[in-house]
Each structure stands twice: as C-alpha cells, then as structure tokens.
Amino acid sequence: MRHVLTTGLVRGLVGQAVGFALGVYTARAWGATDWRADGPLAWAAVLSVLGFMLASGMVSDWLGWLAGNFAPPRHGAPPGKPRWWRYWSVDYDHKVIGIQYGVTALVLVGLAGSVALIFRSELSKPGIDFLEPAVFNTLIGWHGIVMIAGILTGVAAMANYLVPLMVGARDMAFPRLNAFAYWINVPGVVLVVLALFLRWETGWTGYPPLGVQTMPGAIPFYLGVFVIGFSSILGAVNILATAFGMRAQGMTLFRMPIFVWSMVATSIIALTATQLIGLSFVLVVLERVFGMTFFSPTLTESAQALGSPPGQPLLFQHLFWFYSHPAVYVFILPGLGIISELLPVFARKPLFGYKWVAMASLAIALVGFLVWGHHMFTSGMSDIMRVTMMWTTLLVAVPTGVKFFNWLGTMWGGKLTFPTPMLFVLGALSIFLIGGLSGPPNGTVSTDLFLHDTYWIVGHFHATMFGGFVYPYIAAIYYWYPKVTGRMYNETLGKIHFWLMTPAFWTMSLGQMLAGLWGMRRRIVDYDPALGVAGLQTAVTIAAHVIFLSMLIFAFNLVWSAFRGKVAAANPWRSRSPEFQVPSPVPDENYPAPVVVVSEPYEYGGPEPYVVFAHGPAAADD
C-alpha cells in the first residue's frame, strides 16, 4: 500500500485534483459563481494539468537542472521498490515506457469500445429507448476521441518499444522527453473523462459554431485533446532523432527494419500536423472564454464600427482537417509497417521491394498533407478546392497500391505458416482492402455528396481503422509478446480470438456500409423504421458485442500468459531483426555492448542461425 501511494500515477492524479481544486477556489475568489462557466473551467483544467506534471515527477529532472544537478537519468529498476513499481511511475527506460503506452492503449480502446456498445444497443432498433439525445451525442464524441487517443498511444507503444531495439540503440535519443510524452497523456485523458460527465454535443470533431455554444464539457474536451497532442509531437521528435541519430554502426538507412521507416513517415506527420488540431482547439477555447470570434460569423456593434470582418466557421474545418486527415495516416502507417515487418518472417522470404515499401510510406505521408479538403466537400468550400482535393485524394491510392502489391509479392511462393500473428496480418490485409476500396466513392465529389453524412462513411473508416491499426496492433502484440514478457501467449485462445473477431467485424463493417446506402444517417440517435435498416442495425449491434467478447478473450490471454505461459525462446519466430538476437525478455540495456550490424534485414531463406551482428571492437564515436 505504501508503495502504491508513491507511484507516479497516484501522486500525479492527486496533484491534478489539487490543481483543479485550486483553480476552482481562485476562480471563486475572483468572483466566479459557477465553476462550470467557461473561464473558471478552463483555468482549473490548465492548473490541473500543471498539478499532474509537478506531482507525478515527470518534470523533476528538468527542474533539477535549474539547481545545477545534471546527473544522468537513472538506469534500471529503482532501489527499494517492488518490481511492478516502475511501470506505474516515471521511468526512462524505453521498454518500460513502451509497455506503459501499450497497456494504456488497450485500456483506452476498451473504454471507448464499451461506450460504443451502449449507443450501439440504443441504435439496434428504431425509436429512442434509453439514451437522451444529448447523452447519445456526448457518447459518440467520446467514443471517437478516446479511440483516437487509444490508437495514438498504441502507435507510440510499438514505436517506443521497437524503434530503439531495431536500430541497435540502448534507448531513445531523449529518454526524459520520452517519459514526459507518455505521462502528459494521463492528465489529458482525465480531462476528456471529465468532459464525458459535463457533456458536449459536437462529436469528436468539435466543429464551431456548435462547439462554442454547446455544454461546458467542450472545455475539458478541447483542452484534454490539446494536451494529448503534446505527446504526439514530442514523441515524433524523439523517434525521428532516434532513427537518424542513434543507429548502431553498420545500421545504414536501408538496413533499418521496415517498421522504422513507417515510423519515420508517421512521425513527420505527427510532428507537424498535430500543431494544427491543437491550434484549432485552443482557438475555440479562446472564443468561448474571451469571446474572440475566430469562427462565429456574428459581429458585435463595436466590431461593426471598426469595420472588422466576421469570423469564419470554415476556417476551423481547414485547420482541423489539416491535422485530422493526415492523422489517419499516423494511425495506419505504423500498422502497414507491422504488416510489412511480419509477412517476410511468416513467408520465409525477403520483403518484396524493400525500398519501394519504405518510399511508399513517405509518399503516403507527404501526399496526405494535401488531401484534407475531402472532408469538406459538402461544407460549401469552393469548387476549385473540391476538385483539387479530389485528385490528390485519389492519388493516395497509388503508394497504397504499391504496398499491397509488395505484400502479395512477398507472400507469393513463400512457405507460409499461420500462427496467430500471421492470421491477424492476413485479416488486416483483407479488411484494409475493403476499407481502401470503399474510399474512392467518398474521395470523389459527385458520389461523396450523397454518401457524406451516411453510415457508409462509418463503415468505411471503421474498416480502415481495423485493417490499418487494430488488426496489425493485435498482430504486433502477439508477435512481440514473447520478446516483451519472456513467455508465450496461448495459441488456442489466440486463434479463438481471431475466428470470433473477424467474421464479426465483416458483419459490422459491411452492415454499416449497406445501412448507409439505404439512407441511414450518421451521428443520430433515432431513425425512420421505413428505411428498412432495423435488421441491419440489430446485426451490427450483435457483431459489435461479439468483437468486444473476443477482445475480452484477448485481454485474458495477455494477463494469464504473462504468469502462466510457456517460457519463450529468444527467437521463437526465427526472425533476423536485431531485437530477436538478444534474450527474452530484453535485458535492461538492450545490447550487452554497442553492436555492429552486418546483415540485411530480410534475407530469409538462407542458412540459419543468422549472423546479424559482428562481434568486433566496440563502436567508437563516428
């Protein structure tokens, strides 16, 4: 119990509560009557985040610098604490942080999924049964934003755990910043949870003018997302600096495992575009708190006297989608990297067209910056923009197609085996294919005008998210589970997980698309029985519950196997990747001495065991 109270998590949450209370108290002292008014709430939210930062210990080392204490970050487990303690506290080891991210991701995805089951059940038949519209609207927004937070932390989990190992480094380039980037998520998520109770009705996109007018939950929602954005930005700084600055000797750019390339592409987007969603959300908060009308088209008398132009709602959508479309590639590029990483191992063949796959990731990332307007075809944007954005959108299919054909080329004639990770990779391929093929109708202006506000879109993006992130993430967890824990997961439970989840997902996604084609609108609590979609909605609801059940089996498998699973070998998959050349679980410093990489990453099919490192003299400074 004593140890629980000293964990960074508990201390941070107490600090956040104290900060929030201090904010409410000072606001009262300055004459505010209701703490749920925009000003006091925003002030308390900001103080609560600062409270978390100070109390959790995530900035202690930096504050120590001011006192002239430049001691290096601690290595290894903290003395005098039980083994689990470091996983609940600020720790600088990239593997600990990777596991922290990974578990957080599963928790967030689980929470967001449970919320989805609630409103899914409401939708299973026409009529408003048990959810008020305001609650329904809050829940769909919460489901969306928490899923996004879960996906971002899941991406960061894979990146943190794998990138330093894969480039042969001891840790990330900036371990303290790495811990900061993880922990800043926690107060952000707490704020988003607060938003759930205060309610807001815009959905996850937060469009003004509604975002300015809706209930007080909007304030913690916008600020929470803003705070979570720090994590993406600082994480991206760290990954890029690690991939380019921390590589071992002999680890040339084109010897990096392909997942590192996909994380480089991802990080370029996260580094730059994230600023724009942060900006757009802060501007809405400024509009709510100080009446700065960036987005509302109304003018006060004195503004009219000055001859000021009005605010523009469309400006928000431009800023917002400049992030939020590329963000989709933040979600899927790492997943596609996992697919490219695992296929050669399970096909025992070199990755087909390695450089093309690497460059296709960069191409998707760069083209992704120029397509945001396809979310705004129905918003009243100019025709020039609509047509331009249509062309750039369809252009994304080219590098994506390159990847697909490279995957087929990798599998062609390979000696395929089908353990659980491979099943999820193949499941990802099939689902991402449908998600991808249902995209061009929405990317084309003429058809999007009919599809835009329907369940077709819901089906489409759930397919891209499951195929591009969820399935690869699950595959990655199964695949690296022995490396992380030193034990094997249960193969039977893994297969049951796959064979429950996949048909259920197909039912759900195709059912949603079909309901959309029949006229079911999205983001709405009720629908007309005359549409004839009630049967589809029931099927989709049942399928969603089955997916949830399969995820429970998954969670059970992870927890149970961590204690009772078979002890795993160092390299159970006969992989050539650097991280599989060290014992499982990976030792504290990753590699016993600086390594020199002497082999290509995907030369499968040759004689084993593989020689990946030269045991020459220690790598000197370059």
Partner: protein, 202 residues
C-alpha cells in the same frame, strides 16, 4: 559542471550527444512553425487585404526591441563560446530586459492594460480583435517562456556552468530565442503592415 557523466559504455560522447540534441531542437521548432503558420493562415483567411488601425509607432518599436534582443542573445552565445563569461552574463541579462520590455509593450499598450481608457481594439471585436489578440498572445507566451529559459542559463552561467567546449544549454536557448524573433519577423508585417486600413464606422 554541465558535463554528461559517462556511466555506461553506450553513452554518447558530448559532440555526438550535442548533435542529436540539435536535431531534436530543430525538429521541435519545425513543429512550432506549423502552429505559427496556422495562425498566419488564419490571419489571411479572415482579414484578406484589410487590417485594423494599429499603433504604427508601437509596432515598429516592438519589432526593434526584439531584433536588438536577438543581437544580444547572439552576443551572449559568442561570448560563452570564447569563455568570456562576464560578457555572456551581461548580454544574456540585456536580452532578458529587452524581452521583458517587449512583453510589457504588448500587454501594457497593445492590449491596453496600461491605457486609462482601455485598448482601442478589444478581443471581442470580430476577426480583427480575435486575430490581433490571438497572434500576439501565442507569440507573447513564447517570448515569456524564452525569457524564463534565458534566466535559467544566466543563473547557471553565474554559478560557473558552461564553457567554450560545452555550452549546448546556451546554444539551445539562443536558437529558441531567435526562433521567437523569427516568428515576429512574419507576424509584424502580417498584423501591422500588409493590407489596407479599414476606414472606421460604416
């Protein structure tokens, strides 16, 4: 002193450590520049070819203060790179003074906290007010963090940290400060110079 003690054989030598740090800092600045570019985009989207009647003398004065402060920050970095500690401390402190003067100028006059009748332009005054207060606010926040960072390295420098060979901390703060100046190089024309002043009252 500001030495990264080598506790593990993998720890990077100072030169390489500094290089990775430099990349990290610049990556962060690239990220920040997207945020400032977004603000500039908002200004052009909302204002187009118009601008509000802001105080030109104040604008020019603020710009000059910030440019001169950048000069002194650069001087401070050059000084520590040549082990000239007294000059480093003097120039860094002058930068702090100028940065503070800039903040006082923005908050006291442009935002009208020191003006008896309040500001000519209020944050609620349509897109004019929103953009002026938004852009200067985001920028002033960065100036404030910069001033605090310079104070931190000044404080460490006074206690004998940093040397000609090892002064990454000073370089990092200097580069950040110049970046904040760089942002103002674009914000100044965007707010004060570009476009036609709208005739008041119609």
């Amino acid at each position: 002193m500001a030495v990264l003690h080598s506790v593990h054989e993998h720890d990077l030598p100072y030169a390489r450590r500094e290089r990775v740090n430099r990349w990290g800092l610049w990556l962060f600045l690239i990220s920040e520049s997207f945020m400032f570019a977004g603000l500039l985009a908002a200004r052009f989207y909302l204002w187009g070819g118009t601008r509000p009647p802001l105080d030109q003398t104040l604008g020019l004065l603020l710009t000059s203060i910030l440019l001169v402060s950048s000069f002194f920050m650069n001087r401070a970095e050059v000084a520590i790179a040549h082990d000239d500690r007294p000059e480093f401390l003097r120039s860094a402190m002058l930068t702090v003074v100028l940065g503070t003067a800039f903040l006082v100028g923005v908050v006291g006059w442009e935002w009208g906290l020191f003006l008896p009748d309040g500001p000519h332009l209020r944050p609620t005054d349509g897109a004019f007010g929103a953009v002026v207060y938004g852009l200067t606010g985001f920028h002033a926040f960065h100036v404030l963090t910069g001033v605090l960072a310079i104070l931190a390295v000044w404080h460490l420098g006074r206690r004998g940290h940093f040397s000609a060979r090892q002064h990454w901390g000073v370089e990092a703060v200097a580069v950040y400060w110049h970046f904040v100046d760089l942002v103002w190089v674009f914000f100044y024309p965007a707010l004060y110079l570009i476009g036609q002043v709208v005739a008041a009252g119609h």
